[in-house]
């Protein structure tokens, strides 16, 4: 734990520094940095609504951050989380759409979740196999798989599963309100989950069970990587493939496994969006979650706890965007994007600092 804190010191400094630089930018543009900071904190953390949305926005980033981190621990760079989550989200909705009428909604929901995980895993597993068998670099292949996923899914949505005359590129719904009750496969929202405990969480907030899945995923990834023999092997391959091989660890098998696991985690984004929020597949639902996941993993030092914290930060930034845009005179919501960029830049500088500090012991 102490080690983890030490690990996270630098990212923390990077974030603080980025906020300071971001403040200077606000000041140059001609607004008050304090106002912007204040807007950020109050909108993201100052109310139940704020916190609810921050957590909701953080959910997909926890999944994709973990996805990138797991691959990275095996020495692989999964740039394809975006394609994996798009394919998985469509698969989730597809199960809901093609399931026979009479099947219980809960069963269909379970199958849909399974589909999300399996399709995400397969979509990332393919580049894994290509790397293990032919040495095709995963950066190239995962990017290609992103385009393939986007193409296939748009096509299927457009020509096979879209409501006649709907101007939006989205599938038919899998669950709908009937007599005030949501019927069809879905997962409960936080409101429904907390109600039995006597907590009145606002019904309008989209935060849902998937957030708890995300927390569980953090814990599971931690246990997997550091406590199981498979995690040991995966990390060994990531650090030194030759030594891993010497230790009887299959590089090929771990490459495929790490990619598949990475894709499964990315695929869980589909559960949040399709089963917990929109109840349909909406083409373009992902605000670049797969790519932001790279930033989240980088900031979180590829550690589940770090990923969780980084995703919360990015979720908070996403939440505050609109407020900063509206309640300032000159600052637009792009400020948040700039801030994210500065954070990444600072975190990336770490390598340089580390090299220097190593010398002084």
């Amino acid at each position: 734990m102490k080690k983890l804190l030490r690990e996270l010191t630098f990212p923390l400094l990077a974030v603080v520094a980025a906020f300071l630089v971001g403040g200077v930018i606000v000041w140059i543009v001609g607004d008050s940095p304090l106002l912007v900071y204040n807007l950020f904190f109050t909108s993201a953390f100052g109310s139940v609504d704020g916190i609810g949305y921050t957590l909701f926005y953080a959910t997909p980033l926890i999944f994709t951050g973990l996805a990138v981190a797991v691959a990275f621990k095996c020495g692989l760079f999964n740039i394809g989380a975006e394609g994996q989550l798009v394919a998985a989200a469509f698969a989730t909705a597809w199960v809901g759409l093609v399931a026979p009428e009479g099947w219980p909604a809960i069963l269909v929901a379970l199958l849909a979740m399974l589909a999300a995980v399996v399709v995400g895993g397969v979509w990332a597993g393919i580049p894994g196999v290509l790397k293990a068998r032919f040495g095709a670099h995963e950066v190239i292949t995962t990017i290609m798989m992103n385009f393939i996923a986007a193409g296939i899914v748009s096509y299927l949505t457009q020509y096979h599963y879209r409501k006649q005359g709907d101007p939006i590129l989205e599938t038919l719904p899998i669950a709908e309100m009937k007599d005030g009750v949501l019927t069809g496969p879905h997962i409960p929202r936080m409101h429904d989950l907390l109600a039995p405990l006597g907590i009145n969480f606002p019904e309008r907030l989209p935060l849902n069970l998937a957030f708890l899945f995300a927390l569980a995923a953090c814990a599971l990834v931690y246990v997997f990587l550091w406590k199981t023999k498979w995690g040991y092997e995966l990390r060994a391959v990531g650090l030194n493939p030759s030594a891993a091989e010497y230790g009887g660890i299959s590089i090929a098998r771990n490459t495929v496994m790490a990619m598949a696991l990475s894709g499964m985690l990315a695929g869980m984004v589909g559960i949040n969006d399709v089963l917990g929020y929109r109840y349909r597949y909406y083409d373009g639902f992902s605000a670049g979650y797969g790519f932001t996941g790279i930033a989240v993993a980088l900031l979180g030092r590829n550690h589940p706890v770090g990923v969780l914290l980084a995703a919360l930060l990015f979720g908070a930034l996403a939440r505050s965007q609109l407020f900063i845009d509206i309640f300032t005179n000159k600052v637009s919501k792009d400020w948040v994007v700039i801030l994210q960029a500065i954070i990444i830049l600072f975190v990336a500088c770490e390598a340089v600092f580390r090299m220097k500090s190593k010398r002084s012991g």
Binding site: W230, Y232, A236, A244, Y246, G247, G248, S360
Partner: protein
Amino acid sequence: MAEDLKYAVEMRGVTKRFGDVLANDSISLAVESGSIHAIIGENGAGKSTAMNILYGFYAADSGEILIDGQARSIQNPGDAIRLGLGMVHQHFMLVEPLTVTENIILGSEPGSSFAIDFKQARARVRELSEQYGLRIDADARIEDLSVGQQQRVEILKTLYRGAQILILDEPTAVLTPQEVVEMFAILRSLRDRGKTIIIITHKLAEVLALSDRITVMRDGRVVGNISTREATAEGLARLMVGREVLLRVEKTDAHPKDAILVVNNLSLESSTVHGSLNDVSLEVRAGEILGIAGVEGNGQTELIEIIAGLRPQTRGEILLEGKSIDRLDPRRRKNLGIAHIPEDRHRRGLLLDFDLAANSILGVHRNSPLSGAVLLNEQIIAERANRLVREYDVRPPNIALPARALSGGNQQKLIVAREFDINPKLILVSQPTRGVDIGAIEFIHKKLIELRDAGAAILLVSAELDEILSLSDRVLVMYEGRVVGEVDPRSVSEEEIGLMMTGGKR
């Protein structure tokens, strides 16, 4: 008399602490200008640390450094280079796909800030290479060079940057005997042209043959400072270790039993002669040590790696206790009782960023009770790691340290501990004492003999002819991927075996 002595380097009261470890405890040493000065000491004595401080890699906690009589502050290697220091590290720092010239100018590229003046650089590299008899082709790619040549490139690099004082950290550990001879000639010629040389080594014979003065370190302190003329191997060994050390291997005759390992007509095709195997057959029996003598790069590495399951052979078969193991992966082979001490501990033997505990289970990490069906059994792993560290005297004995923080020799002890602990039937041993101090060499040799007497079959590859001849019960000589003969280690002469190793007929 005293005023004639000019010191190129003086370190006074230099102290450096890493966490709990006092790596350098107020050490002082003085190196005469234009001399070869050896630093010796056990693994972890603090030799590399002292030199890394001198070269600006580490900052000392206290103490001062004088270069040519003037106190200097050396904050980073850049400062050191400006003061005329050059360092060749224990582990090379070359970029493999680049050429010699490209590597040498890396970091100090000549020419304007936009274009590199390659022509000028190449000419200078050629000139230096000729001047000091280094015989290096300026346009060769690093990956095509032998280890000895790579090392000369490192030396060339320091000379190119104008080094007057050369620091060499265990330069001979990785060299073949012939290369060592060449290296010594080069170092003497450098000294005769006024350069000052500081050399760290574990080989007492080399120290006595080469150096002018010797500094002995133990446990972070300087414990002796002697003129080489007055030194003896036994005396130095006693100073280093603090007790009498056996410099010879003591063993009784082997009593070999059944064949454990049988290799039949093993061949490996490769685009180069180095790295191919041609119809190698051999047999190692329980209770004997079979040594493979040969100049490095004549197929020994490949032979060992094929037997360990790390690369496939083109033809031929390998039998362990009469059963073919050709189709088994490295882990299954290890589980059958094949231990392997790899020649390159950083590339193969260790995960430098894992802690000692995690390194202590590499290869047996799936075995009960170290791991269960799913989880690693951390407590049992820690207990075992602590036991290994204690039994094999790995220092510092802290299993939570990353392997990277250990000195080279202690890293080797950890690997040896891990491999010997599986109760092996067959032990594949490559360069077991490379970079290891005399105390640890004595220990590893004793262990090998013990395991032999307990009935293990041992296949030993070493670049040290001495080691091969003193440990082995039988010796095969390899040249260009084939076995060119068998000799009796008790009666063969160095000339005879040397001739065979270089392709001459017996």
